[in-house]
């Protein structure tokens, strides 16, 4: 019999970092307590896990680290509910529960030999960061063509992973475009919403996959741009969020039609989503 999928492993919160200027998003770095737990937790970019704040509950969050970063997992979490609030207030060194990895992942096998354009908005950049980090790894970089990241936030203070973005600016292996909604003092890069910046950058759709994550409004206006650039729906991927409990496709709340976002998703192509009812 497989292990009980309802039982979390215990991990140590080694860093609780305030990620954004509005202090609403923290990045938690969790450390595996032993080799066995880490080996059992084999994951890919795009997967998520259920985090337990003991005494408060459990909630699903996308994994922001890449499997190429051993020993730890990172999650960047907005403070919205009971569990996320408890996690935000948690002292470093506290033990948390982790169940996972759960769900499917970005089709990195299909991406091999192709260019990849990653488009992210706001704090939906977590599993996109995992994907970029994975492809940028020395072992994998040769498998992919051009990697372009278009990432935007309302203002500079709301961008996640600022140090890493600065690093990517100077990395010849990745073409990073960052943008903010309105001009801000000291900001010298793009200004404008993601859809218009994407249109301006106009990444070629030839032999290219696009991965788009962000607030619904951003996705809604970015998709027509990609369509104009001739990206077919089969080559546009996104990751969905849903209220979840079990994460195992049993408790019944995260379905879109026949698909359970927790086990059949969270990653879907636009071609797949077109076949599903519009109920998400």
């Amino acid at each position: 019999m497989q292990q009980n999928p309802y039982l979390p492993i215990t991990m140590k919160l080694v860093k609780n970092l305030v990620e954004t200027e509005d202090r609403l998003i923290n990045t938690f770095t969790l450390e595996f307590m032993n080799k066995q737990d880490e080996e059992n937790f084999k994951y890919m970019p795009g997967q998520f896990a259920e985090l337990s704040a003991y005494g408060h509950g459990e909630a699903p969050f996308g994994i922001a680290t890449s499997p190429t970063e051993p020993g730890i997992l990172k999650f960047s979490v907005a403070k919205v509910g009971c569990v996320s609030n408890a996690l935000h207030l948690m002292e470093e060194g506290t033990m948390v529960g982790v169940r996972g990895p759960m769900g499917n992942y970005y089709p990195i096998e299909q991406f091999k030999g192709k260019n990849v354009v990653i488009i992210g908005g706001g704090f939906a950049f977590t599993t996109l960061r995992s994907l970029a980090k994975y492809m940028l790894d020395d072992k994998h970089r040769g498998d992919y063509g051009d990697i372009t990241v278009i990432y935007g936030a309302r203002n500079p203070g709301l961008l996640l992973y600022k140090e890493e973005l600065a690093e990517w600016e100077n990395n010849p292996n990745i073409n990073l475009v960052t943008t903010i909604d309105r001009p801000a003092e000291g900001w010298t890069k793009h200004v404008g919403f993601i859809p218009s910046i994407t249109e301006q950058i106009a990444p070629s759709s030839v032999d290219t996959y696009a991965v788009v994550c962000g607030p619904p409004a951003m996705i809604k206006f970015t998709l027509p741009v990609l369509e104009k650039l001739n990206f077919p729906p089969e080559r546009i991927y996104t990751s969905l969020e849903m209220r979840m409990k079990c994460g195992l496709g049993i408790c019944g709340r995260c379905n879109i039609g026949t698909e359970y976002v927790c086990k059949d998703g969270p990653v879907f192509s636009m071609a797949q989503l077109k076949e599903l009812p519009n109920e998400y």
């Binding site: 003991y54 209220r243 195992l248 379905n255 039609g257 086990k263 998400y280």
Partner: protein, 337 residues
């Protein structure tokens, strides 16, 4: 084969020593599946229980694990004690319902250990229906009121004796403890007659799934839900409904993680942390309920997740009748999009 009720009762009482035995008991307001110690406590003449017997595998409220926090540390404990159990007197609709729940609690990726360990240690003794309620419509789903599908051992009441059918290996192990005799020709004729019965009430579901494929945006859902109160009694009394919530019960530094029956008819069921709710009105929730049972489940598992037990019809405070709802969908005009 058959066994006299007297001998069956003796064998039943002997089984109580080795098994936890669950059977229908009259609790004053109806029939409830309850642990019994003697066959004399068993209600033998009944239509069906108020609540389906699914709770013996999937309790309304159960502990998944417990934990204790000490400073920054935590210790997590989970223990699942499962007894060998006999469920006696399960009606064919409910036995089929368990087969459908089996598909949910073991999907293409995961097995739910709480459900499955109980399920594997349980023997189902089915009891054929010789009386049929006006709300029964199991024949709509190729379930026979006296069909043995889903039971391990299956009985039909012949008055002073039971006809006994061994359905599975588990059932055979129990049958070995029964002194079985051959049926007489008259008894066989009676068995055949009972077995050929159908529920007078039947709905036509032959094209329902393919019709629903095209009905997500139908105006049918606009009016369907108007009288529904959203009380969830249909889900809680359904032998195939399986939705649950997971929550935390905390006292000082100790806590328990529990799961509790939930329902897709509950407004908060799909509410995101952000405030967004993909099914934020009764219309979308009713559509989900019907679609799940008669369309999504069929696509995912090959059969409808309704067994025609009629409990939702009996218990609905505003007389919503799933037979009429399905019939309405069958007859609804398709809107060209």
């Amino acid at each position: 084969m058959k066994i006299s009720k007297e001998k069956f009762g003796q064998a039943f009482d002997a089984l109580v020593a080795d098994y936890k035995v669950i059977a229908p008991v009259s609790d004053g307001s109806g029939i409830a599946f309850t642990e019994v110690k003697s066959f004399s406590d068993v209600k033998q003449d009944y239509l069906n229980s108020k609540l389906p017997p699914k709770a013996f595998f999937f309790p309304q409220h159960e502990k998944l694990m417990s934990y204790k926090k000490e400073g920054k540390d935590v210790t997590v404990k989970s223990e699942l004690k499962v007894e060998n159990t006999i469920l006696f007197g399960i009606r064919p609709c409910d036995a089929k319902g368990m087969l459908l729940l089996d598909k949910v609690f073991k999907n293409d990726q995961y097995t739910d250990p709480y459900y499955y360990e109980r399920r594997e240690k349980a023997v189902i003794i089915g009891l054929g229906c010789t009386k049929i309620a006006p709300t029964c419509f199991c024949s709509s789903f190729e379930i026979s009121p006296a069909g043995s599908e889903g039971s391990d051992l299956f009985l039909i009441d012949l008055g002073d004796s039971y006809e006994v059918e061994v359905v599975t290996e588990k059932g055979k192990a129990l049958a070995d403890r029964l002194a079985l005799a051959e049926l007489t020709a008259d008894e066989q004729a009676l068995v055949d007659k009972i077995k050929s019965a159908e529920t007078p009430s039947k709905i036509d579901v032959s094209n329902t799934t393919s019709k629903l494929d095209k009905m997500f945006n139908s105006p049918y859902w606009d009016t369907l839900q108007e009288k529904c109160l959203g009380c969830n009694v249909c889900s809680f009394s359904c032998p195939t409904c399986h939705c649950f919530d997971i929550s935390e019960e905390v006292r000082k530094n100790e806590g328990t993680r529990v799961r509790t029956w939930d329902a897709c008819m509950a407004p908060l069921f799909t509410l995101h942390g952000s405030g967004h709710n993909p099914r934020d009105n009764k219309k979308t929730r009713w559509r989900q309920r019907l679609m799940h049972k008669f369309n999504y489940f069929v696509h995912n598992n090959g059969s409808m997740s309704c067994v025609g037990c009629g409990r939702c019809i009996k218990s609905c405070p505003v007389n919503m009748d799933i037979r009429q709802v399905v019939d309405g969908a069958n007859k609804a005009e398709l809107v060209v999009e």
